[in-house]
């Protein structure tokens, strides 16, 4: 009997993301596959060198939206476990800013659900990144499209 319980873990934190804890959370006998995406601070964007990213969030709404995205994903794929963890404040080079993970019975839906969650997070969840460059410039990353919304 497949496990119906879909456990979830969402969080915003100012400290390093604990990848081992996320993996442990995702482990379940119901799953044959775990997909885990980790977004990290990249040093170079074209010819510009980044020294640091700083994230801020409208926290209570971001947590609500994270739950909404998992609700949507659970309706589309047989997900036993899902987590969305995002770091706030300063994230130095190479460190993780976001971790999205899912556990599903088989590999294809693990990849699909994980991709869905990170793609939607990036256009929907009220979190913003500020980029600090080596030349001392600081700017907010500004998209050109209004945030996506979930139709429930």
């Amino acid at each position: 009997m497949a496990e119906k319980l879909n456990k979830r873990w969402v969080s915003l934190s100012k400290t390093s993301l604990d990848v081992a804890a996320a993996y442990q959370f995702l482990q379940t006998p119901a799953a044959g596959g775990i997909a885990l995406f980790i977004g990290t601070t990249r040093q170079w964007t074209g010819s510009r060198e980044t020294t640091l990213l700083v994230y801020e969030s409208y926290e209570p709404m971001a947590l609500r939206e994270m739950h909404l995205l998992i609700d949507l994903a659970v309706r589309r794929w047989p997900i036993s476990r899902a987590c969305i963890l995002h770091r706030l404040g300063e994230v130095p080079l190479a460190e993780a800013s976001v971790l999205v993970g899912v556990a599903t019975p088989h590999r294809p839906e693990a990849f699909e659900a994980c991709r869905f969650l990170i793609d939607r997070l990036k256009v929907q969840i009220p979190i913003w990144k500020q980029e600090h460059f080596t030349d001392g410039q600081v700017h907010w990353i500004e998209g050109s499209e209004p945030p996506e919304t979930t139709v429930t």
Binding site: G39, Y55, E56, S57, Y58, P60, M61, A62, R64, H86, S97, V98, I118, L121, K122, V123, Q124, I125, P126, I127, W128, K129, Q130, W140, I141, E142, G143, S144, E145, P146, P147, T149, T150
Partner: protein, 82 residues
């Protein structure tokens, strides 16, 4: 008239050098009218009029949503998490 505090984040918080702004509006106006009123009162917001959304009680609100006294309001410009 009712006074609302509207929370600002990211680029709007930086441009207006404030974590929130106050707006005097009539109870019962729509989210779209709130956005218009904010852009009129704070011209620095105007370039964002068509790409920002109003969050009402921590949810994205359609522009037709009616705003009532006590609602928690925040402006959400294009997001860039991840």
């Amino acid at each position: 008239m009712v006074s609302f505090e509207v929370q600002l984040y990211s680029v709007l918080r930086s441009k207006l050098a404030a974590a929130s702004v106050n707006l005097e509006i009539h109870d019962g106006i729509t989210a779209g009218e709130v956005l218009d009123a904010l852009c009129h009162r704070y011209p620095l917001m105007a370039p964002y009029r068509n790409i920002m959304r109003l969050a009402v009680n921590q949810e994205y609100a359609p522009e037709s949503r009616i705003i009532h006294t006590g609602d928690e309001l925040a402006l959400i410009t294009p997001v860039s998490g991840g």
